[in-house]
């Protein structure tokens, strides 16, 4: 720590005032340990007792606490007296004109879709169907801890060192075999390990898209994928997706008119609708793409996380022309926090994706890759998937039957085949953004559908997620939702701006 000291004036006082400022401005945050008195005295060239005096005064002021034998720490909370925050020093550098076009595009998109803090939803009493994330209470944490611990013991130094960009070889080999069980024939060298599917979108976007390129998407679709394509200036071509699925006729007309660079789709467990394409439609889609030489980015929500019947084989399984890029992730079936996913692509493209990955962050942590490999290898994954199908399946069933009981007949919704969510269409005239305000007051949350639309549509739709709502609260949540919708049908709430909408992360 560097403190400018005036040697002609009391030193302890100067040190005290300097630290006071750092604590009040939170450069030194609550709970942080102050430097040892010996160390700071040496750094400043003062007597150790001088530092000790400064520290004692901070303790007396309630800004710090001394723990015998451990040192002095910034006080955890500062209740003593009103907190005076010094004004931030003026920034003479004005960054606003310096941002790139890509950064401005991201910011403009973000303004349109104000993110709701996760905490907002979890406030007391609110039953939230807005969180599309898996339920952490179902994580196989203890089994993973044991595998992780064993992996560090056995392969520690190698897993903590730099390693090849393409990924941990045993994991790539495992994935090749794992994909084969779904019908996808991929050699290990056609697989690139990435930090979750989001990095997959990002690398594909950077490798294939230039500003002005067209990208066909299902509509509604996953917002972060749209944002990624848009951040590099791509233009989105929405293909409508109703309760019955994707309209291939519409897609064909778009292909003829705009020749998009690629199609992004989620044939399994589509987010937000939960729909899964049947085998025949998959075949037709592939044939259409093949005729138009249209690359397809297939976002493969895990094949094993389905309800009722298993899904048809991925598009990648039927691809004989090398035009499907498959993205997979462990985020939904295991742990989103590990950020682990993969891309399958033909070698000429995969080489370019590897080069982009190398410049993005060199490689994904081999420690995490090795832990997941050993975890999956040991059959844990299969057993865990069966448990997830069971548990999420129960929540889904409850939600569907509650919707039947409590929602007006004029509301339609999808029957999800997989994933964590379903999608509802409200009667015309009921705006989901405005509805959310009332719903939150009544203690229930959802995601307004417009965030899943590229073109500002979707105002009278919403997404319900059943992954994070415990079985005991589903019924009550839907009852509240039904009440709010009925009320809105009687006297429609004033439509609010879309940018007020509260949107969760996934």
């Amino acid at each position: 720590m560097l403190i400018q000291l005036d040697r002609t004036k009391p030193l302890a006082f100067q040190i005290q005032r300097h630290l006071e400022r750092l604590i009040r401005q939170e450069h030194l945050a609550p709970g942080v340990k102050l430097p040892a008195t010996r160390e700071l005295a040496r750094d400043l060239g003062v007597n150790r007792a001088t530092v000790a005096v400064a520290y004692e005064r901070l303790v007396a002021e309630g800004l710090a606490r001394a723990h015998v034998g451990q040192g002095t720490f910034v006080a955890p909370e500062r209740r003593a007296g009103p907190r005076t925050v010094s004004p931030e020093p003026p920034l003479s550098m004005d960054w606003s004109g310096l941002f790139s076009k890509a950064s401005n595009a991201i910011a403009a998109d973000a303004r349109r879709r104000q993110f709701l803090s996760q905490a907002g939803c979890a406030t007391r009493g609110v039953i939230s169907f807005a969180d599309g994330m898996p339920d952490a209470s179902l994580f196989p944490t203890e089994a993973f801890r044991q595998v992780l611990n064993r992996v560090v013991k056995r392969e520690g130094p190698a897993l903590l060192q730099y390693s090849p960009v393409s990924g941990y070889p045993p994991l790539r080999r495992f994935l090749a075999a794992y994909l084969l069980r779904q019908g996808v024939e991929a050699r290990p060298e056609e697989i690139l390990i990435v930090n979750g599917s989001q990095q997959g979108f990002d690398l594909i976007t950077r490798t294939l898209l230039d500003p002005g390129d067209f990208v066909a998407i299902e509509q509604p679709t996953y917002p972060q994928a749209m944002q990624t394509f848009r951040s590099l200036g791509a233009q989105l071509l929405p293909v409508p997706m109703g309760p019955e699925g994707l309209s291939l006729d519409h897609l064909e007309r778009l292909l003829e008119r705009h020749a998009p660079k690629l199609l992004y789709c989620q044939p399994n467990a589509h987010n937000p609708t939960g729909l899964t394409l049947d085998a025949a439609t998959r075949g037709d889609l592939l044939a259409l793409a093949s005729r138009h030489r249209l690359p397809i980015v297939e976002d493969g929500f895990d094949h094993g996380l389905y309800y009722d019947d298993p899904p048809a084989a991925p598009l990648a399984a039927g691809d004989r022309r090398g035009l499907v890029i498959f993205i997979g992730t462990f985020s939904k079936v295991l742990f989103p926090g590990l950020r682990l996913g993969w891309i399958v692509a033909p070698r000429p493209l995969l080489e370019r994706l590897e080069a982009a990955k190398q410049l993005s962050d060199i490689h994904t942590s081999p420690l995490i890759q090795a832990a997941i490999f050993h975890f999956c290898q040991g059959r844990f994954l299969d057993r865990h998937l069966a448990r997830l199908r069971d548990e999420y399946g129960r929540r889904r069933k409850l939600l569907l039957s509650a919707l039947e009981r409590h929602l007006p007949r004029s509301v339609r919704w999808t029957i999800p085949h997989g994933g964590f969510t379903l999608f509802c269409w409200l009667p015309e005239g009921v705006d989901a953004g405005a509805l959310l305000q009332r719903a939150l007051e009544r203690g229930v949350a959802f995601t307004p559908g417009s965030v899943f639309y590229a073109d500002g549509e979707g105002a009278h739709s919403l997404r319900l997620s059943f992954s994070s709502v415990s079985v005991s609260r589903v019924e009550e949540g839907v009852r509240r939702l039904g009440e709010v919708i009925r009320e809105a049908l009687r006297r429609p709430p004033r439509r609010v701006e879309v940018d007020r909408a509260a949107v969760p992360l996934v």
Copy 2:
């Protein structure tokens, strides 16, 4: 697994041939477990005995091995008979015309800098001064394992769930205090956790640079930073850096002529030279940048990893105008394989970097962040740094004295103040790329200097890294190098194309 079966023909034979092809084409890699006979029989709608027959034939052919009670596995090596690889099916999709400008820029840069596989250097007998990575044998692996294990036990589910983009709050608070010890005043909310400094370069590039923008760099400098700036079409403006450091006069002329968008520099432990800017030059650089409102990207190789005297405070410590963006990393002082680093920037910029990070990969693994936080919190880091200074310091000293003894007087080199490397200038006429060919034959490796230059210069320079060469081999390695240089001085080797040069990763 999906196998198209013709029900009118022998089924076991068809299954056997299908699996044979998958194994020979490595869709099923050596060591991979085949599906359980019961499972495959169900998938294919055949009798279990039929699958068992197919497996037995694969075993008989030497393509698989049966382990009683465990199942059937693809054979680890296939020595029996010549391996017949079926030709790859033709790819009807031609990707070559579909790549983005950014991807083509990356590929063009990569062709100029052919990467040497790490294995290439580690071949028997070659003493390699080419690897700029830390020595894995110095990793505090066991201590880290214990911390990691404890962290999963205590905070498991929360660390495996989605979490905020900005980073694990206790780590951001720790870093604020850690940076303060170096004189940098940063609030936790001015710190963004990223996947190593490479992701820092990437996010800054995407947030601040558009095609055609100028970026001033030290020359020589870190190749992957140059490649990142170039991948988005930025033009590099090299500022020469000799044995005495950076030329500020040259920089000032560039600022006047081209008004670059930013300066990238490494004031501590500069890679490749190992030089560290003195306090006076730092002050002058900051004043110059301030006059020109030039943002500086300060790549802060860890402050604690120095030899002889500790370095002056980072540029960020003296920055009163909010124009320094500081990048830090745990890759050199702890574990590169964890991919953990951070960016410090003024809030208006940091908000944009967070948005870019969110679209890149949502967030960095909180599990790894928490483990590193607890590791550093427990004073392990300080003790470990002292050990590293000691050990790398010994290797550096040995290398410097060996250079004095074995290298011709016409070779000049830098005296590194920190980091893992030093830089040598050979006499004019000795081309380092050509020299490397002879050096490898003689059992010593280095990195040709031209890869650290933006403009094709640097042909008669080279980088020596002392981080991965054990004390016992330094002397012999330098002796061989001296011999090769002397020989080249007598009869200069024919200059080879730069793209033949062998370049390590870091």
